[in-house]
Symmetry: C2
Subunit: 675 residues, 2 copies
């Protein structure tokens, strides 16, 4: 590798070693510290401000005895400078670039070009580049893939816009709490008590809504409750779109817009119909989700599609890809990766993206409590799908404090309005729990056996419908892991990368707002499991899809599927089951009729993957110029205002919101919740 | 290379040779022709429609004697099929996929997924992928470049929008022709005769405008003249923006827009300030130029930037890059490429992108005619910068017909309102030209000597201001080459790739509409020639820039520059010379003040480069899913209508044009000119 070809230096500053001793070198770089220099170059090297750019010529010599730094690769040598030249003087900096000087992220983003000089950003961006290059070698050079660019100026995809709605259950709850709908906009809705009742506190109102009538499994996913700042007897419901939206690009034809696609999904399938056989692309994708922490409006995926392939083929390809591109400074990856069905992931980890770096698995202990005297457990078990579940927090009784437990109980109540019974074991195997006295000896022994309970363990127990109970314990499992690590236990070794395939997802889900309607769990092009085909026409909700997710340390980093290649089947699913407007996809349906090969593929989220590999705290740390969580470029101040004149060629103009609309639109959820 | 890893076949159809004889193989593919088959598989292989997808298992055997096809790599073998399986039947196709069946381009684009199966599209896309991969290897693996993705949701760049204007000269000409401005819009202007004169014909009107008052060198670049279809006594001037425009992307904040950048120019420079040292990216870029033949609204460039580099460094890097990535089936490239100054290119080829595959250079023959009796030459020479120039069309008198000459004369008059004197030599060295009798013997001998005129050559001669005369002959040179090839001469060997650097461009140009104002010839970040620095403050129009273009066979395929790294100089050029609003670039100016290294770079137009390498007739043939010349995706029908409801989150609405506006906006120039 030649790092100094074509430029005015002989070496980079970082590559010199004692093997270069005696060599005449020319180096270019930034002044980091001022150090003593010969008189001839002192004016430049000692008087120029730190971070000024200089070129020096000199000889590589050994550091004086005692001044070697064995921690630095360059720590044995230094340069005896003969000539120095100031290439560009640095003006006063907004902050010191040294890694140990902590900066706010806003400041780092505003002066991104300075932040990029930090060791961590240099490491992250260079590692990213190398990993992607290795991936390309694996795909292009070893396995005959064709790198094909697909358009980003495209058209809207069906299902890409889900107008925000408030779940029916919440509407019922609002009405039940004596509220009437005051104003309703696309992104928010205000509900108000018109009776001259005393103002409700936010806590009262939301607990009234959440605890009783509104028991939706994941309310936080769709709405955020908050007070309208100026109407204390009203509640503001900020709606969030479930589906991601596509950015629009006005064209010069009146009323016609391109859209920036969320993925090259249609194109990759059309390429297979076009006989390209093996496609990949490092694809820029766009998703307009409004403000979301740790999401970016534009992101990158490793996009792959193959003809004549099945699920296993794609999985082996991706395993090989990751193994081949894995950084040299990490332990090599073991393949194949383990695999787990969606049902098993939910039952064991309470999520479709289990973090398998640690145990603490969910155990079904329903049978232990068939004859319990505890009414709350008995009632739960009597209901359909009723279960009792628990996780064992190893050494939880030793590490977790009383307020940790309280935090967990509150989290459970807040998110799920569900009870959790913490049971502790102390060193003498006595039970310590407010409910312990209701657990009989036989139950205790059986529980200990089933869950392999040891001294100083803690058990968290809950009861309820299978999916809900698993989901709750899955969340508490992660909360416990965080708390245990906060208290000094090491559960998740940063050197461990735990990959997992999750498979056999349901093909369809019931829509949250309209439970009688179906939506695709992955996307409408996913092929059903061949063994479930017969159910498609009778009980479609039971059909599993040929869809696979790749999970790393509890994060979904990829997802794909074998696609439908039969036009008739695709039309049936789009039209009859999903009630989509097939006109928008007529070109794809037609393509399937014109000799489409069986095909499948996957997309890996590159930003997230590199973030996990580098151990960066945020995906913003593996992107050269990221947007803030509100979608702003803090350096250049994008997005920016555009004059009406400049909008004219696009036949659009701005609809300025009224003052009150603007206020409620710009108010953030946290502001409301803290008021 | 494993083309059949991970999939349900043993080989691809195209890779079997006689070395595979006797092997059991499984192949997947499309039925091309029906041929005789064993009874067991006949139903599938003979009855399924052509282009149906099948999988066959069988043994590789030799073709029967006499049936070998030496032209095909697979021509010695065939498969004795044991089992066959129909994977997907093909419905009736809109056209036959065979290469010899000619399709309109509109049909090919509408069914792009079928067109992609053609030999040519497969070759083009696969070659493109391989070339890009080799470029990446060269940059990343051999020379330490870092592949960095830069945002495409950015903000407007200063100077990116040039509101369309009509050149002052044309306005004068219109007024001179008795017209008054009727309506004036951003993209068109209607001028009307209000006096009740008989309607002018288009020819009359435009010749009136073009011949006399309006002698602008390149009128076609800025305006197209045409009749307003319904007003025969009016003329429609369609304005074209000189500068390219940036697409806008509305954000969810009222009135704020991202823009899709024309190149990562600012980001690549900021990466150098950030110490990334060697950056490259295969970058998607966007340019909204309205309808332009053979341009795409999104296109791809190989984007490169280096620190501590000079012009020569970038040139040697790019030569190495192209040599390394050059396809194996072409002759290897010889490097370094020749280089020519802008002044020399203009004087010799009449253009800044000379096609150096053939001669026919422009010769200044002013001295020959210092004492000529031809008044038109004498007048021209008397003016400042007046010259007489000529090109020698080798064997032009033999190959070119009378109507070819007429065509050339008309082209000269149409584009330049300038006279061209064709002079022929026949086999007996007699001169044949309407002007021959005015050329005296001495002039004739001197001309023959200077231009090395041989039997059957033709000479095209013009007189006028240096730049204008060169520019005209440069265009006629290309017209002659086209005509000569049409008549059977081979001038431009398709196997020859003639690269050329053009350097020493002027840093600034006078604005066409406001000749006292300056604009950047390349872009405002280009560094001045160090030897011209002193002129910057006195005669900036004389300063040359450190800007280099790479030309291949007469096409500009790349351009770059050494950048300004001094904040003060950059501010002076932006603010004082170019009158730009520096607020929009404050982050860049600040970055230059914070330790910016000297740096430079280049961008290569990948689509055009691959188009030239493959010999494709259009860049649309090297892009998987191109847009039509009007910016439409004919397959999916993008851009498409979007409902007012879907525009709401972006706080915009459509300004529908009135009927008459729409008509004049949608009318194409050619329609007008032919009416």
């Amino acid at each position: 590798m030649e790092f100094s070809s074509f430029v005015a230096r002989t070496n980079t500053c970082g590559e010199l070693r004692s093997s270069h001793l005696g060599q005449e070198v020319t180096l270019c770089g930034w002044i980091q510290y001022r150090s003593e220099s010969a008189a001839s170059v002192r004016r430049i090297l000692c008087e120029a401000p730190v971070e000024s750019v200089v070129r020096v010529c000199g000889t590589v010599i050994s550091r004086p005895p005692g001044q070697e730094n064995p921690k630095m690769p360059t720590g044995e040598i230094e340069i005896k400078v003969k000539t120095a030249e100031l290439l560009n003087a640095c003006k006063k900096l907004p902050f010191e670039i040294k890694d140990f000087v902590k900066k706010t992220e806003a400041l780092r983003l505003q002066y991104r070009y300075l932040d990029l000089r930090s060791f961590q950003m240099q490491y992250n961006l260079r590692l990213r580049s190398k990993m992607v290059m290795k991936m390309r070698e694996y795909l292009c050079n070893l396995h005959g893939f064709v790198d094909i660019e697909t358009p980003t100026l495209f058209k809207r995809t069906p299902g890409s816009t889900c107008p925000a709605t408030i779940p029916v259950k919440l509407i019922t709850a609002c009405k039940g709490a004596g509220l009437t709908r005051d104003t309703d906009r696309e992104h928010s809705s205000v509900w108000r008590r018109h009776t001259p009742a005393p103002p409700l506190s936010l806590a009262q109102l939301s607990s009234q809504l959440l605890s009783q009538e509104y028991r939706c499994q994941k309310p936080v996913k769709n709405v955020v409750l908050g007070f309208d700042t100026r109407k204390t007897n009203a509640i503001l419901i900020k709606k969030r779109n479930r589906g991601a939206k596509e950015f629009l690009v006005p064209s010069r034809e009146p009323g016609k817009f391109y859209s920036l696609p969320q993925s090259p999904q249609q194109f990759k399938q059309l390429l297979m119909v076009g006989g390209l056989d093996r496609y990949f692309q490092v694809a820029r994708c766009y998703r307009d989700e409004g403000s979301r922490p740790d999401r970016q409006p534009e992101f990158t995926q490793i996009d792959i599609e193959m003809s004549f392939v099945d699920q296993t083929g794609i999985q082996r390809l991706v395993e090989g890809l990751l193994q081949y591109s894995w950084p040299d400074d990490k332990d090599p990856l073991m393949i194949p990766f383990p695999s787990m069905t969606f049902a098993e992931a939910l039952a064991t980890y309470g999520t479709d993206k289990p973090d398998t770096r640690f145990g603490m698995k969910i155990v079904d202990i329903s049978d232990v409590f068939r004859n319990t005297g505890l009414r709350f457990l008995r009632d739960a078990l009597a209901k359909p799908q009723g279960t009792v579940k628990a996780i064992r927090v190893h050494e939880g009784a030793k590490y977790l404090r009383k307020d940790d437990i309280e935090y967990i109980r509150k989290a459970a109540a807040h998110h799920f309005s569900q009870e959790v019974l913490p049971i502790f074991l102390n060193a003498k195997k006595n039970w310590s729990s407010p409910f312990a006295k209701f657990i009989v000896e036989e139950e205790r022994l059986e529980l200990t056996r089933l869950m392999e309970i040891q001294e100083e363990d803690m058990v968290l127990l809950t009861a309820g419908e299978h999916e809900k109970a698993c989901s709750l314990l899955g969340k508490l499992r992660l909360e416990c892991a965080d708390l245990l690590e906060l208290r000094g236990m090491v559960l998740r070794d940063p050197a461990v990368f735990s990959f997992l395939w999750v498979v056999d997802f349901p093909l369809f889900l019931a829509k949250e707002e309209h439970p009688t309607e179906l939506e695709s769990a992955h996307h409408p092009f996913t092929a059903p499991h061949s063994s479930d085909m017969h159910l498609l026409y009778t009980e479609p909700e039971k059909v599993r899809g040929q869809h696979y997710d790749l999970v790393l340390n509890g994060n979904e980093i990829g997802g794909g599927s074998v696609r439908i290649h039969d036009a008739q089947l695709q039309r049936y699913i789009l039209e009859t089951l999903l009630k989509e407007d097939v006109k928008l996809l007529s070109h794809l349906l037609q393509a399937l009729d014109h000799g489409a090969p069986p095909h499948g593929g996957i997309a890996l989220g590159l930003d997230r993957l590199v973030c996990l590999v580098t151990g960066a705290p945020s995906i913003r740390d593996v992107i050269a110029f990221p947007k803030s969580y509100r979608g702003h470029d803090l350096m250049s101040n994008a997005p920016d205002c555009v004059s009406a004149e400049e909008l004219k060629p696009y036949h659009i103009h701005v609809l300025w919101p009224t003052d009150s609309e603007e206020e409620s639109a710009s108010a953030t959820p946290s502001k409301h919740l803290s008021s």
